[in-house]
């Protein structure tokens, strides 16, 4: 797997008497897209801010590419990009100027080619010479993303990158995130759109009240926690279920026209399908549904599972 790109060890953050992060350990692997999920106030932004150097941890250490983010900040920050959750802009400058200034802070002179690539990916080419003040909310957020990309960081933190971004551009951004991953960029993103995490992430971490509830491959989370549902459309409506099917937990819906049955994660529908056949029921159509990441997330947070 190689050394982790970001390594968080025992990180705590207190604001006065309030504990925002309660001793976190987390490794981010090279080249992955990691989705950091959790309800409002869970500590996602706090954690990202500590890695990026916006906040100092109260205890613990963070390493980026093997170097400490406090003692070796010049090195680690050169390799990090951050799209902050809060939109900010300097009303003195245009889109192009904002990008050039940010690049300058990183010691990078933006080539025309690179500038055009960033503007194009974020659909801001038409706004190149427009003052940041005159951008729409979603465009301002895209400019923030652009500013985080100017120095071609190896690790990119996206704190709710698509909040307020329209559907079409969101998908365009997702494609661009994958392009970046294809070039070897490691990406950590937070989002409240669970379909975004489901679409993009290789691994997910669920943070709640300053603690990590789970860090797992996305596919494994779904395999392990997502309940499946089978729905069979019957040719003739049934008034009552045959006993074998009832004992498997099946139920009738839609006036007896649909038979539905839940399976726990990892459980097979084999016995149910066999019982269906044995009962001699004519089935018109079968569909199975799996819980979405969003439902798994809600279930996990309710504490119904581990």
């Amino acid at each position: 797997m190689g050394d982790p790109v970001v390594s968080v060890r025992g990180v705590e953050k207190r604001f006065g008497g309030f504990t925002a992060l309660a001793g976190l350990d987390l490794d981010i692997r090279a080249g992955e897209i990691f989705a950091l999920l959790g309800p409002n106030g869970a500590g996602k932004t706090t954690l990202i801010s500590i890695v990026a150097g916006l906040l100092r941890a109260s205890a613990g250490t963070v390493r980026v590419l093997g170097r400490d983010v406090v003692t070796d900040y010049r090195y680690t920050r050169r390799h990090l990009g951050l799209v902050p959750q809060e939109i900010n802009f300097d009303p003195f400058f245009t889109v192009e100027e904002a990008l050039r200034i940010q690049a300058g802070y990183f010691g990078v002179r933006l080539s025309e080619e690179r500038l055009e690539e960033i503007l194009g990916a974020l659909d801001l080419a038409a706004k190149r010479h427009v003052n940041a003040r005159a951008l729409s909310g979603g465009m301002k957020r895209r400019l923030l993303i652009g500013k985080a990309l100017v120095h071609a960081p190896e690790v990119l933190f996206l704190d709710e990158p698509t909040a307020g971004v329209d559907v079409e551009l969101r998908q365009q951004l997702w494609r661009y995130v994958r392009t970046l991953q294809g070039r070897g960029t490691t990406i950590v993103l937070t989002t409240h759109y669970l379909e975004e995490a489901e679409e993009l992430a290789d691994r997910v971490g669920i943070l709640d009240r300053g603690r990590l509830l789970l860090v797992e491959d996305k596919a494994e989370v779904l395999r392990r926690y997502a309940r499946k549902t089978l729905r069979a459309a019957l040719a003739t409506p049934l008034a009552e279920l045959p006993a074998p099917l009832r004992s498997l937990g099946a139920r009738l819906e839609d006036g007896g026209r649909v038979l539905s049955l839940d399976a726990e994660p990892g459980e097979s529908f084999g016995p149910a399908l066999a019982a269906l056949a044995a009962a001699g029921l004519a089935v018109q159509d079968v569909e199975t549904q799996r819980m979405r990441l969003e439902d798994v997330f809600v279930t996990l947070l309710r504490g119904e599972r581990p």
Binding site: F15, R74, R77, P84, F89, D90, F92, G107
Partner: protein, 253 residues
């Protein structure tokens, strides 16, 4: 060798005040010209000479000092504070600029503004009173130290402040009164012994007096005192600013 990062920050900060030249450069010049015209020229023509110098000429160094001090202070204070309010400070905090570079960028731009305003004020006054300077290098050196010291003070104030009120407190309630009471308009020798003792406690008095010595060649106090106070202020204010950046005081939660 100045790196691209520092050059970018410096250029950005200079452009920031040049984009609103009316506010940042012109208005202090107009204000001081008014002081000069009212106190120096119209009243001054009825006043006697002060220590062998026409009154209009006597007040120029003090006014220039006040211009340098308040512009240096205000530039760092307002720029830093606005960045905190707008959240654009994030752009700097995530960048690999060293603490020293961040400080140099802010202070450098403020010094450029302070000295530019001071120079323009001196030029305006020169039209009325002549351009002669007794010790040009000493004048530039001392004003440079003063500009650095007060811009670092502005930086500290902005990092610490949570409201505009607090930003304005320092120039309105401390710098301007102390400068005015520090002998911009009179020589300490003209004062009663009681007032004189009070004036000698005012650090701004020594700065005004030092600049007057460099420009006009006359002084109430030893010029070395001005250099010592200005250098002490620089060292202390830069030291505190640097420590604030290094520890992340207020800037990094």
């Amino acid at each position: 060798m100045i790196g691209l990062g520092l050059r970018t920050l410096l250029a950005k900060e200079v452009r920031r005040f040049l984009r609103v030249p009316g506010q940042t450069v012109l208005s202090p010049i107009i204000t001081t010209t008014l002081y000069f015209v009212v106190f120096g020229y119209s009243l001054g023509s009825r006043l006697r000479e002060v220590e062998g110098v026409p009154y209009a000429r006597f007040i120029v160094p003090g006014l220039v000092t006040l211009g340098v001090v308040s512009n240096a202070f205000l530039n760092t204070a307002s720029s830093m504070f606005v960045m905190k309010l707008q959240g654009t400070i994030t752009d700097l905090l995530v960048s690999p600029l060293s603490y020293g570079e961040v400080l140099a960028g802010f202070v450098g731009a403020a010094v450029i503004r302070g000295l530019t305003v001071g120079l323009l004020m001196w030029a305006v006054a020169g039209v009325f009173t002549g351009f002669g300077v007794a010790h040009p290098l000493a004048a530039i050196g001392l004003l440079l130290l003063i500009a650095v010291g007060f811009s670092a003070l502005g930086f500290i104030t902005a990092v610490w402040a949570t409201s505009f009120e607090q930003i304005n407190f320092f120039p309105t309630f401390i710098i301007t009164p102390l400068t005015f009471l520090g002998g911009v308009f009179y020589s300490a020798r003209m004062l009663s012994p009681g007032l004189r003792r009070f004036t000698l406690l005012n650090p701004l008095f020594y700065l005004v007096d030092g600049v007057r010595h460099a420009v006009l060649g006359l002084s109430d106090a030893p010029p070395a005192a001005a250099v010592a106070i200005a250098a002490g202020l620089c060292a202390a204010a830069l030291g505190v600013s640097y420590a604030m950046l290094r520890t992340g005081y207020k800037l990094r939660g």
